[in-house]
């Protein structure tokens, strides 16, 4: 998978976490996988359509979602509820929009779809483009995962 498609997503994630939360993200293992096997309970995916197409998926553990919410709201959260899930869904949307701005700057016209939220351990998603780049990430001691499955949409490019 081309770095042109994956680097903007990682960079956008790092920027959003730094600007909004003041937290750094550390990159861990990177693997190319044929299927997306999530490791955490809160999974938020965003579809990309246009001259690039595919999916960006974040898999967050509940503890991290609670920490993010506590940092943003300055309120103690005992459990992940609808409020928390949609607040973090919006965070993922902001990351995707930032990445899309970079794609557009690189000449790819594309848009994002609304976030899809799936809750549950060990979920399996098919990689939109037959393969996905799995990037293990860490912030403030919490591990979470980013999966990017994206490719050029040749049909859109030739229209």
């Amino acid at each position: 998978m081309k770095a042109d498609y994956t680097n903007p997503v990682y960079t956008a994630s790092k920027d959003v976490f730094t600007n909004m939360l003041g937290w750094d993200i550390i990159k861990g293992d990177i693997q190319l996988v044929k299927e997306i096997h999530t490791h955490s309970k809160i999974n938020i995916s965003i579809g990309i359509t246009g001259e690039l197409r595919g999916t960006i998926l974040f898999s967050f553990p509940e503890e991290l979602v609670l920490e993010i919410l506590e940092e943003m709201s300055r309120t103690k959260f005992a459990q992940v509820d609808q409020f928390a899930v949609f607040a973090v869904g919006e965070l993922v949307k902001i990351i995707s929009e930032k990445a899309i701005n970079t794609f557009k700057g690189n000449g790819y016209q594309c848009e994002s779809c609304p976030p899809q939220i799936t809750m549950g351990d060990m979920q399996i998603f098919s990689a939109a483009m037959g393969k996905a780049l799995w990037i293990a990430l860490k912030t403030r001691g919490n591990a979470f995962d980013l999966f990017i499955s994206m490719d050029e949409n040749k049909k859109a490019n030739h229209q």
Partner: protein, 141 residues
């Protein structure tokens, strides 16, 4: 309290409006997430959504007046962001008044509102600060 001094952009009116928005949102999150049944806090929820809808319009206009006054180069882009968010608020309010006791809808919109506002103030609005003259600017005159 969600407000942080580092969010200031150096224009008194806009900074005060941001602080007020955060103060109201903070109080609202406390109301929304306490254990009181929805029916008993509906007045407060309704008042806050009404306030947010009105105040956001006033605040966005102040920001746009400021940008016009200082010749902010990303004025159009910023206005599109405001317009898009105003549309989202209108769409939500329409849904809300159709089904006021839909807790999922209220929680979903409020969660998104929190994240959107923090991102807008820490990102898009901080960019305006770079173009504010060091002595500040009066946008009320």
């Amino acid at each position: 309290m969600l407000w942080r001094e580092q969010y200031k952009i150096g224009v008194e009116l806009v900074d005060k409006q941001h602080e007020e928005l955060f103060r109201r949102l903070s109080a609202f999150i406390d109301v929304l997430r306490n254990s009181t049944p929805l029916e008993q806090k509906m007045d407060e929820i309704e008042k806050t959504f009404h306030f947010m809808g009105e105040y956001v319009q006033v605040h966005f206009q102040s920001e746009e007046d400021l940008q016009a006054k200082i010749g902010y180069p990303e004025f159009e882009k910023h206005r599109r962001i405001h317009d898009s968010f105003k549309q989202e608020i209108n769409a939500f309010q329409e849904e809300f008044y159709k089904d006021k006791y839909n807790e999922d809808l209220i929680m979903a919109f409020s969660g998104r509102l929190l994240t959107w506002l923090i991102n807008h103030v820490t990102g898009d609005d901080q960019n305006i600060a770079k173009y504010v003259p060091s002595g500040g600017v009066d946008i009320e005159s």
